[in-house]
């Protein structure tokens, strides 16, 4: 356990080295909420207004999830850099087991995401409303699972790509697919409607439905806004995503450091 704490400490120190980048990211997120979301409020289609009431309230939970995603994904960049600079040779010499090391990295990626996301989630609560204590517990648990899954996904991608260009390209594809093909920015009903009209491929509609970003945002909305209604399937989707990528990342990471 102590060894995992050392890994966490190492990765948190690294995380706060990017403090200026983090401040820039937070200001971009807040500008999205306090400028873009407010302006979109005045452009909403009346049908959508009936459905979501206010775009600001709709978007605030989505913003917390996007913030979590972006910050939890940062660990992948570091792992990729360590791989290219062969720092993992040094890592192997540390007095700790491979499993402890891999779990520590995935966990720290997820924890960093949670730390970054906290002020965004607090802002969401202040402006949209507070959940009950059990609801807060579910939200934190789901977001933690999501953060772990994202951290795992980014590490898996980082160890599977040989160069920074390939990693950045793969990250771009995954990033924007998960971001835009989700209900983070718009209600899922719109994606569904486009799918039914044949303007959006059905596999992307299905992807948007099972997308962990959609489900995490909708769980927060279900508790704070009452729409969409909460279902256990949403938690299962996030749980499955988290399990798959946490295990896959730990396995892939161990393979990478052993292969040298």
């Amino acid at each position: 356990m102590r060894k995992i704490v050392y890994i966490l400490e190492h990765d948190f120190r690294n995380f706060f080295r990017y403090k200026w980048w983090l401040v820039g990211l937070i200001s971009m997120n807040l500008a999205d909420l306090f400028i873009m979301a407010i302006v979109y409020n005045y452009m909403l289609n009346p049908e959508i207004t009936q459905q979501i009431k206010s775009y600001f309230n709709f978007f605030a939970p989505g913003l917390a999830v996007t913030g979590l995603f972006a910050s939890a994904f940062m660990i992948g960049r570091e792992v990729n850099m360590e791989k290219r600079r062969e720092v993992h040779q040094y890592m192997l010499s540390l007095p700790m087991g491979r499993i402890e090391f891999a779990i520590g990295r995935v966990l720290s990626g997820g924890m960093r995401g949670m730390v970054y996301m906290s002020p965004l989630l607090a802002t969401c609560f202040v402006f949209v409303g507070f959940p009950t204590l059990p609801q807060l517990g579910v939200i934190i648990l789901v977001l933690f699972l999501l953060a772990m899954g994202i951290s795992g996904l980014s590490i898996a991608m980082a160890v599977s790509t040989s160069s920074l260009d390939k990693f950045v390209t793969a990250r771009g594809l995954v990033y924007y697919l998960l971001f835009f093909c989700s209900s983070v920015f718009y209600p899922f009903s719109l994606i569904e409607q486009l799918g039914q009209e044949g303007k959006f491929p059905m596999f992307l509609v299905t992807f948007a439905r099972v997308n962990p970003l959609s489900n995490a945002s909708d769980i927060i909305r279900a508790f704070l806004l009452g729409t969409p209604s909460f279902s256990v399937d949403m938690v299962i989707c996030v749980l499955v995503f988290s399990l798959i990528f946490t295990l896959f990342a730990a396995f892939a990471y161990i393979r990478l450091i052993e292969r040298g």
Partner: protein, 266 residues
């Protein structure tokens, strides 16, 4: 009689060398180039398409695609400031200062190079945008593209000015992040000015004087997306862009000339 001519040619060539170097440098950042392209396409294919269903603005999809092109141009042109920090960190400045090129030629060339490379890169993306939006009047489009060219030079000049004035990569990084967030969102790149004003008068006031508003409006005017234009007369945004370009090119030259030497880069 021959001397001045020879000097003139030499000056142009020196500028060309500086421009060529910066254009080549940009395309070495393959990851950044690819990321921006993926972002652009996914914004059109996902956000533009779905958000156009969410809002009650007529022809919002084409409107958004038009704004997206200028947003991408802005973020590509701003990148030259980061190059300057890379050079300072790796000691390339000393090499640049030893070249037979004056400070003014250097900064003018860098400003042109920064704008040109952004324009070359975004040119391909603009073609995709024009395929989506269509072109109503080729002459208007040419004028619009010319104004985007000046806009890209102006943004490069602004980036150089800020980089040289701040001399701290951390501060520059955060300033660019905040500036990018505010310049893009407080403009008409994503929404019409009338809606921004309705949402918040202060936001509307800033958007009214934002060069990105001028560039977005001119591009839409050039592509024939005229339903929600901010200005009735396209000469007004064009004038705004010319003032923006001239101001930052001039200030950039003066500051670069004064601050490039003496170290102090962090």
């Amino acid at each position: 009689m021959r001397k001045p001519k020879k000097r003139g040619v030499s000056l142009t060539r020196k500028l060309l060398f500086v421009v060529e170097r910066d254009v080549r440098l940009f395309f070495q950042y393959k990851a950044m180039v690819i990321m921006r392209a993926i972002w652009f396409v996914s914004q059109i294919a996902f956000f533009g398409l779905i958000a156009s269903r969410m809002v009650a603005i007529e022809d919002y999809f084409r409107y958004y695609v038009g704004g997206l092109s200028t947003m991408t141009l802005y973020s590509a042109a701003i990148f030259i400031g980061f190059d300057i920090y890379e050079e300072a960190e790796h000691g390339v400045f000393e090499y640049l200062l030893s070249l037979p090129v004056s400070r003014r030629e250097l900064v003018l060339g860098r400003s042109i190079g920064g704008g040109l490379r952004a324009f070359i890169y975004v040119g391909a993306l603009i073609c995709i945008a024009l395929y989506v939006t269509g072109v109503a009047n080729p002459l208007n489009l040419l004028l619009a593209l010319f104004s985007l060219f000046l806009f890209a030079f102006g943004v490069s000049g602004m980036s150089i000015t800020l980089a040289v004035a701040i001399k701290s990569s951390d501060r520059f990084d955060i300033l660019m992040g905040v500036l990018d967030a505010l310049v893009v969102r407080l403009s008409t790149a994503m929404y019409p000015l009338s809606v921004v004003k309705e949402a918040n008068v202060f936001y509307g006031w800033i958007a009214n004087f934002n060069p990105l508003t001028y560039a977005s409006d001119l591009f839409r005017w050039g592509a024939g997306i005229e339903s929600m234009l901010t200005f009735e007369n396209p000469l007004l945004p064009l004038l705004g862009i010319i003032v923006f370009f001239a101001f930052f090119t001039f200030v950039g030259i003066v500051l670069y000339d004064k601050n490039i030497e003496g170290g102090g880069w962090q």
